[in-house]
Symmetry: C2
C-alpha cells in the first residue's frame, strides 16, 4: 500500500524484477510456460482437502518447503459440517485474488500508485442444476457480480482495463478445456 | 469413508436429509436459489486476503459465526512472497473440491459406496497472455488435466458421469458472465 516508489518497489512489487521478467519472457517465450498443480483427498461427506506445493515455470521445477493446505466443505444447509468454504465460494476467492493481483501488477508496470483495493463478489447458483432436476438450469453460476472500491491516482477507466488482464477472469468468462481421467483402484 | 450405511449416513452424507433436500427443491424451485459471497482486501504486492462468511440459500440468509480467511500470494518466481497459493492454484483447488463433492453427493443419492477419492490436477498457463505480450496467447489456462484415483463399487463410467454434475466444472468449462463495477474512493 505504498504511495511512493521506495527502493524500486511500488505497490509492494519490485519494479526492476517485474521489468526484468517481461524482458526475459519477450526474449524467450518458452520461459512463459507455467504448470500449476493441486492434489485433493476426500475426507468424508462434503469435506475434502487440497494440498498445493509444487509448480513448473520459467524453465524449472519449484517445490515449496511446506504445502498450502485448503479444506473444502459444505455448510449444514447443504448437508456438510462447514470445515471450510465450499467449492463455489472458493471460485469467488480465486476470482477476487486474480483480479486484484492483475490490477496490482499491471498498475505497477505503468507507474500507477494504488493506496487500497477492496472487492466484494456475489455469484448466483440455482441448485436445481447440480441436483439434476432441470436441464434448463445450468449447474454453475448464472452470473457473478464484482464490486471494487479502490483508492488510486488512476481513473476508474484505467483501473477497469488493468483488472481485465486477469487470467482467472478469462478462465471464468471463457471456456477452459478440462480433461478428466478416472482410475479405479 | 464409510463402506456401509450406518444410521442413514452413507459416504458421510445423511441420506434422509439429501432426499429431503431434493424433494423440497422439486416442490418449491425458488428454494434452489443460492447467492455465495466473498470479500477481498489487497495487502501488498501479490498478497491479498479473502473473507467468506455469509450466504443466501433455501429462502434465508446464513451468517457463519466466524469467517473463513484465505490468503493469496504469488511465489517469489512471480515476484510475490508466497503467503498463500496463487489465484491459478486456487482455481484448481475449487475445481478439485467441486468435482469431489459432486461425486460424493451423487453417489450417495444412488446408493453407491465410496471408499477413497483422490485427485491430482494440473493447469497450463502461458504468462505471455497475462503480461499482455501476445494477443494470440490466452490469459487463462489453455487446459486443465484431472486424474482421479477412486476406490468404489461403482464402475469408472458411473463415476465419470457423477463427477460431471459439478457446478464448478460447468463454471470452468463454460462461460460465466462476470460484471465488474469500480468505485473510485
Amino acid at each position: 500500500m505504498s504511495q511512493a516508489t521506495i527502493n524500486g518497489v511500488m505497490n509492494g512489487v519490485n519494479i526492476d524484477r517485474l521489468g526484468g521478467m517481461i524482458q526475459i519472457v519477450q526474449q524467450n517465450p518458452t520461459l512463459a510456460t507455467f504448470h500449476f498443480r493441486a492434489k485433493n483427498k476426500w475426507i468424508t461427506g462434503g469435506h475434502n482437502r487440497s494440498t498445493i506445493q509444487s509448480f513448473y515455470g520459467a524453465g524449472q521445477e519449484f517445490m515449496r518447503k511446506n504445502a498450502f493446505v485448503l479444506d473444502s466443505d459444505e455448510p449444514p444447509a447443504l448437508l456438510g459440517t462447514d470445515q471450510g468454504p465450499n467449492p463455489y465460494e472458493s471460485v469467488l476467492h480465486a476470482l477476487a485474488a486474480g483480479l486484484t493481483t492483475s490490477l496490482v501488477y499491471h498498475a505497477t508496470a505503468r507507474g500507477l500508485h494504488l493506496e487500497s483495493v477492496e472487492s466484494t463478489l456475489e455469484g448466483d447458483l440455482d441448485v436445481q442444476g447440480f441436483l439434476g432436476l432441470s436441464d434448463k438450469v445450468r449447474r454453475g453460476y448464472k452470473e457473478i457480480r464484482v464490486h471494487f472500491a479502490i483508492k488510486s491516482d488512476a481513473s476508474a477507466e484505467q483501473l477497469d482495463k488493468l483488472i481485465r488482464f486477469s487470467p482467472v477472469l478469462d478462465m471464468v468468462s471463457n471456456p477452459v478445456p478440462v480433461s478428466i481421467h478416472i482410475e479405479k483402484q
